[in-house]
């Protein structure tokens, strides 16, 4: 198991190198001169040359890439053109907002999808199954950004019960400690700030989690249907166990393995979904930062963000592989 994971980990290094090269070339070949965008069209040639020299843009591209690789290996992604700060610092300041949002989206999706999927799968062709299946199908077909807009329209525009932008109301949140507003507010024992942060996160998390909810519900249901046919379930019934016990103790535990895979795979979708949902809800996370960076042609920031997103996705897949063995002892590498 350990040697398998070590091999997988080593295998990700060339993949990450190739990704960094691909991203670096793509961003540098993009139309639009970043120096012109940042300094303005009126800037004279001498200032442009000075700026290019300052950012190292006057050097050949392979030297720029070589320097980039060396600095990335040392944990340095360079300085953001737009914010004039180290890229890693800018990303660090925005990352907690995205992680907090993703965690809540997963919570909403799994807490609703798994019970619904188990219920639907254990009673095939019943009304609850039909309801669950329709709900699942709606979930996977719903564009998250449209749901986000409609939620804003309904809950904020018409009913006026929930805030629709930002992470907190001005002046309510205490000083930042971890960057996770809800955690910070709990640590500071500030109940009002916890509630305020929860009301802010609910709509974006729901919009972000809806697709995952649909997919998870469908996977849980079909996984339950498969396990229900296994011999050990017949045995459990034959020894006189109540149906509830059979479903929750024997069926669900075995049916959750594919569900874990899907949660892992969907985390990647969730990461990219956050880019669009954060833009709609003006959520100050790394997703909306990517759009700002792309529009400003902030090469170091875009490269840093894409690399971090991709590395996170690769790491998630590795963790999921490791989790299999823990959840299902029959699997050994």
């Amino acid at each position: 198991m350990t040697s398998y994971l070590a091999r997988r980990l080593a295998g990700t290094i060339p993949v990450l190198l190739l990704i960094s090269l691909l991203v670096f070339l793509l961003i540098h070949a993009a139309p639009g001169d970043p120096t012109l965008l940042l300094l303005g069209e009126e800037t004279n040639a001498a200032d442009i040359a000075k700026a290019k020299e300052h950012w190292g843009l006057d050097q050949p591209i392979y030297i720029q890439y070589g320097k980039f690789l060396v600095s990335v290996a040392g944990g340095d992604f360079g300085k953001s053109f737009k914010y004039a700060e180290p890229v890693i610092g800018v990303i660090k300041s925005r990352l907690p907002a995205t992680i907090e949002l993703a965690i809540f989206a997963i919570l909403i999706a799994t807490l609703m999808a798994i019970p619904l999927g188990v219920w639907a799968g254990s009673k095939p062709n019943s009304w609850i199954d039909n309801l669950g299946t329709t709900f699942g199908l709606f979930g996977i077909s719903m564009p998250s950004f449209w749901l986000a807009i409609m939620l804003i329209l309904l809950l904020a525009g018409v009913l006026n019960i929930l805030p629709t932008s930002g992470r907190s109301t001005y002046g309510i949140a205490g000083p930042e400690q971890t960057g996770f507003y809800i955690l910070d507010s709990i640590m500071q024992r500030n109940g009002r700030a916890v509630w305020d942060a929860l009301t802010h996160i609910f709509l974006p998390a729901l919009a972000l989690g809806i697709n995952m909810l649909g997919i998870l519900m469908r996977v849980t249901r079909s996984s339950i249907l498969e396990v229900m046919n296994e011999d050990y379930i017949q045995t459990a019934r034959a020894k006189g166990l109540r149906e509830n016990k059979v479903v929750w103790r024997h069926v669900t535990r075995n049916a959750l393995i594919p569900v874990i895979t899907v949660v892992g795979l969907e985390l990647g979708t969730l990461l990219s979904g956050s880019i669009i949902v954060e833009t709609v809800f003006s959520w100050p996370g790394s997703g909306s930062l990517l759009i700002t960076a792309l529009n400003a042609r902030d090469y170091p920031l875009v490269t840093g963000l894409v690399m971090i997103y991709t590395a996170a996705f690769v790491a998630i897949n590795l963790i999921i592989d490791g989790l299999y063995a823990i959840v299902d002892p029959r699997i050994c590498y």
Partner: protein, 298 residues
């Protein structure tokens, strides 16, 4: 003969009672009907749209939907453009993108998958490394990055979406080819002197069409959503081309005053994607033998 008919009738009735037959039909037919309607609206858009989608009527800005028979059935936007006409024209972009992405990515994925599985060795290793690198990008992120590099445009958008969508075909096809290449009919073709190209094109690929059809429907649904997402973020098609995604992006700042602006284009995306997913589910149910065992749709 009579008993056979009776038996089949009883089987069919049992199947109906078990909820298999009508479900399959309802799902596949409803999905198929929605997809057909989407194709027809896309194809005959110019004939169906009441007005020019880009015509600005400054005297008729932000009009609410006034119902059938009025000048603007679904209302107008902030520049006085007719929403119904824009929604109809928007379907054309989604249609072109969806079909182009499915066919191009299907072609690339099936060919690479078949080659990878059939030849194995270094070819397989190289193709699978490429799959690994491209697949390591979170979905949409690669599309956004490519669009930033290539710039806005329909052709670029299709390329950006194809970049990752050939992978599911490639993976599944590779796996199936690995098992197909050991089968007797491939050995027979080899004995008869068929070339590798002939074996792949004539004997392997026809066996992969069914599975690819199901992958294709889901790829179509995901490309419609991805196209709308990229256009919504402003990196899709140029703003002068009406698409459902750009319509939603334009509507964002008027959410509190004009509910009809985001409602209709979003509803179109939702219903189209729902139809395609229903069709895909129906097709998979028909092709999935597990269905017969469980007596329920998977």
């Amino acid at each position: 003969m009579q008993s056979l008919t009776l038996e089949s009738a009883t089987d069919a009735r049992d199947a109906v009672r078990a909820g298999i037959l009508p479900r399959l039909h309802v799902k596949a037919f409803t999905g198929g009907a929605i997809v057909l309607a989407f194709i027809l609206v896309g194809l005959f858009g110019p004939a169906l749209a009441p007005l020019d989608p880009n015509k600005q009527e400054l005297t008729a800005m932000m009009q609410k939907p006034a119902g059938i028979g009025s000048a603007h059935v679904l209302g107008t936007d902030n520049l006085g453009r007719d929403i119904l006409s824009r929604v109809i024209y928007g379907s054309r972009v989604s249609l072109v993108v969806a079909f182009a992405v499915v066919f191009v990515s299907g072609f690339v994925g099936i060919v690479l998958g078949a080659v990878s599985g059939y030849f194995g060795g270094k070819v397989d290793f190289a193709i699978q490394k490429l799959v690994e690198v491209v697949w390591a990008f979170p979905p949409l992120l690669l599309g956004i990055t490519i669009m930033a590099f290539l710039g806005q445009g329909l052709f670029n958008l299709i390329l950006a979406l194809v970049a990752q969508r050939w992978i599911p075909y490639c993976r599944v096809v590779r796996g199936q080819t690995l098992s197909l290449r050991g089968r007797d009919f491939v050995a027979a073709a080899q004995c008869l002197g068929a070339s590798n190209r002939q074996i792949i094109v004539r004997h392997i690929i026809p066996n992969l069409i069914q599975t690819s059809l199901v992958i294709g429907t889901f790829a179509m649904a995901s490309s419609i959503i991805a196209e709308a997402s990229l256009s919504f973020l402003g990196v899709g098609v140029p703003p002068e081309i009406p698409t459902w995604g750009t319509m939603l992006a334009d509507a964002r700042i008027y959410i509190s005053t004009a509910w009809w602006l985001p409602l209709f284009p979003g509803l179109c995306i939702f219903i189209t994607v729902l139809g395609i997913n229903l069709l895909g589910d129906g097709l998979r149910d028909i092709l999935d033998p597990r269905l017969k065992r469980t007596g329920a749709k998977i």
